[in-house]
C-alpha cells in the first residue's frame, strides 16, 4: 500500500480545501443578505464550505482506502508549455506577432524529446508564422501587431 502522501485522493482533497478556503476567505466581506434578498456573498460562502467538505471527504478516503499514487510530475513539459504561452503574451505587444510566435513555437517544441531544429522544422516554423500572419492579421483583421513597440515608434 502506498503512503497517504502519494495518493491522488489525498492531494485532490488538499486542492479542494485550498480552493474552498481561499474562496471563503476572500469572499468573507461580500454582503450575505437574506434568503429573500441574497447578497453577493451568499452563493460563494455556501459553495466554498461545500467544496471544503468534499475536500475533507476525499482526503479522508485516502487514509481509509487503497488508492493510486500521483506519480512523477513532468516538470519539463509543464514548465515549457505553460511558459511558452506566457512568453507569447509578454512578447506580443512588445516584440510583435512574428517574434512572439517564433518564441512560442520553439520554446514549446523543446518540450518534446523528438524535436530537432532541422531544416524541416524551420520550414514548418516559417510556414506557420506566415499562415497566421495572412489568416489572422490580413484576412480576419485581428488587431495583432506584426512588429511590436520595441521596434516601431
Amino acid at each position: 500500500m502506498s503512503h497517504v502522501l502519494q495518493k491522488k485522493d489525498f492531494w485532490a482533497g488538499v486542492l479542494y480545501i485550498a480552493f474552498g478556503a481561499a474562496a471563503f476567505w476572500i469572499g468573507r466581506d461580500y454582503p450575505m443578505g437574506t434568503a429573500g434578498r441574497m447578497g453577493a456573498g451568499y452563493f460563494p460562502s455556501v459553495l466554498s464550505v461545500i467544496l471544503m467538505l468534499i475536500g475533507l471527504l476525499s482526503a479522508a478516503r485516502a487514509f481509509r482506502q487503497e488508492g493510486q499514487p500521483v506519480g512523477a510530475i513532468a516538470w519539463k513539459p509543464l514548465a515549457l508549455v505553460v511558459g511558452s504561452v506566457a512568453l507569447f503574451g509578454l512578447l506580443l505587444p512588445t516584440a510583435g506577432l512574428v517574434v512572439a510566435l517564433t518564441v512560442l513555437i520553439l520554446t514549446s517544441a523543446f518540450a518534446s524529446q523528438y524535436f530537432r531544429l532541422d531544416p524541416k522544422a524551420v520550414a514548418g516554423l516559417i510556414l506557420l508564422v506566415a499562415f497566421c500572419t495572412v489568416v489572422f492579421v490580413k484576412a480576419l483583421g485581428v488587431p495583432l501587431p506584426l512588429v511590436g513597440s520595441w521596434f516601431g515608434e
Binding site: 466581506d29 461580500y30 492579421v137 490580413k138 483583421g141 488587431p143 506584426l146 516601431g152
Partner: protein, 323 residues
C-alpha cells in the same frame, strides 16, 4: 463588395503603418475603441459613423471592441493612449456620466482624461409595462406603487445601468418605491417583461418599439422633452405629471486629452458632417436614434450637467455598485 475593399485596405493599412506622424493628419488608419462587445448600441454608433467619416478623412477607420467592466476597461486604455488623433473612443452615457459617480476607483476620469468631441446620437428611454399589468398610465402606476410599496418589480439591464438609475430617479421624483430586478443586459430584461415575470421597466425606445407595436408591451410614457412621432399617443413624463425625469441614453465620441488643435478641429468637422449626412441620419432614425452632433464645448457642458444629476440620484438613492 465596396466594404470588403475597405476592410482589406484597413487591414493592409495596419500592416504598413509607419511610426512617423506629421502635419497631414490622418496619415494612417485611425482606431476607434468601443468599450463594449460588437453588436451593441455603442458599436452600432461607431460603425455607422466611422463608415461615413472614412470618406472625408481619406483613411480607413478600424473599430476595435475592448469590452469589460461596464466599459471602463476600454475607456481606461484610451485615456492612457497617445493623444495623436489615431485613437478615439465611442462610449455610452454609462462610460462618461454614470461610471464616474458609481465607482470609487475608475481607470479614467472622463472630464480630465478626454478631449470630448461630440455627442453623436441619443435615444429617449420609455416606461413600458407588461400588457397585463394593472396600471395603464403613469398616474395609475404612481397610485399603484403607493398602495403597494416594495412590491412592483422594475427590470433593468444591470445594476448601475442608465435604466436602473432612471427608475431610481422616477421613484425619487414621485416619492414611491419598487423592487429593482437587474438583468445581464437589456434583452433578457425585455424578455422577462414580455413574459410577465417582471412588471415594468425603463428601456431604450429602439429596443422595445417593435414589441410595443406588436402589443407585447404597454407604453406608459416617454422620458423625452417631446412626444415621439411614431408613438404620438404616449405622453412625455412631464405631461403625465412627473417633473424632472427627462432621460436619454446617449453615445459620444472622445479622444485622449491633449489633441493637437488642428487634429481636433479636423476630427470634429469630420464627425459632425458625417453624422449630419442624410444616409447616416436615416440609418440612425430607423433604429430609434436621434442624431445630436453637438460641438465639443456643448458636449462638455452637457457632460457636467449629466454627472451632477446622476450624482444626486446615486447619493439620494444610496445606490452602490462597487464594494
Amino acid at each position: 463588395m465596396k466594404s470588403l475593399k475597405l476592410l482589406s485596405a484597413a487591414v493592409l493599412g495596419i500592416a504598413i503603418s509607419a511610426p512617423a506622424f506629421a502635419a497631414g493628419y490622418p496619415e494612417k488608419p485611425v482606431t476607434v475603441v468601443v468599450p463594449f462587445p460588437a453588436g451593441g448600441a455603442s458599436d452600432t454608433t461607431a460603425r455607422v459613423t466611422t463608415q461615413k467619416m472614412q470618406e472625408s478623412l481619406g483613411q480607413p477607420i478600424v473599430v476595435e471592441n475592448k469590452p469589460g467592466a461596464n466599459g471602463s476597461l476600454g475607456a481606461g486604455q484610451v485615456a492612457k493612449a497617445k493623444a495623436d488623433g489615431y485613437t478615439l473612443i465611442v462610449g455610452s452615457i454609462g462610460v462618461y456620466a454614470i461610471n464616474p459617480v458609481l465607482y470609487k476607483s475608475l481607470p479614467y476620469d472622463p472630464t480630465k482624461d478626454f478631449d470630448l468631441l461630440t455627442v453623436a446620437v441619443r435615444t429617449p428611454n420609455v416606461l413600458v409595462a407588461n400588457p397585463n399589468f394593472p396600471a395603464n398610465n403613469v398616474k395609475e402606476l404612481v397610485e399603484h406603487l403607493k398602495k403597494n410599496p416594495e412590491k412592483v418589480t422594475f427590470a433593468s439591464s444591470g445594476a448601475g445601468s442608465s435604466d436602473h438609475l432612471t427608475a431610481a430617479l422616477f421613484w425619487q421624483k414621485t416619492g414611491t418605491t419598487g423592487v429593482h430586478v437587474p438583468y445581464k443586459g437589456g434583452a433578457p430584461a425585455i424578455t422577462d417583461l414580455i413574459g410577465g415575470h417582471a412588471d415594468v421597466s425603463f428601456q431604450n425606445l429602439g429596443a422595445v418599439s417593435n414589441h410595443i407595436k406588436a402589443g407585447k408591451l404597454k407604453l406608459l410614457a416617454v422620458t423625452a422633452e417631446k412626444r415621439n412621432p411614431t408613438f404620438s399617443d404616449a405622453p412625455t413624463m412631464k405631461e403625465a405629471g412627473v417633473e424632472g425625469v427627462e432621460v436619454y441614453s446617449w453615445q459620444a465620441v472622445a479622444a485622449p486629452k491633449g489633441l493637437p488643435a488642428d487634429v481636433k478641429s479636423k476630427l470634429e468637422q469630420s464627425l459632425i458632417s458625417a453624422l449630419n449626412s442624410p444616409d447616416v441620419k436615416g440609418k440612425f432614425n430607423d433604429i430609434g436614434f436621434e442624431v445630436v452632433a453637438n460641438t465639443s464645448g456643448q458636449f462638455s457642458d452637457f457632460l457636467n450637467q449629466e454627472i451632477s444629476r446622476w450624482k444626486t440620484v446615486v447619493e439620494t438613492g444610496k445606490i452602490t455598485a462597487d464594494q
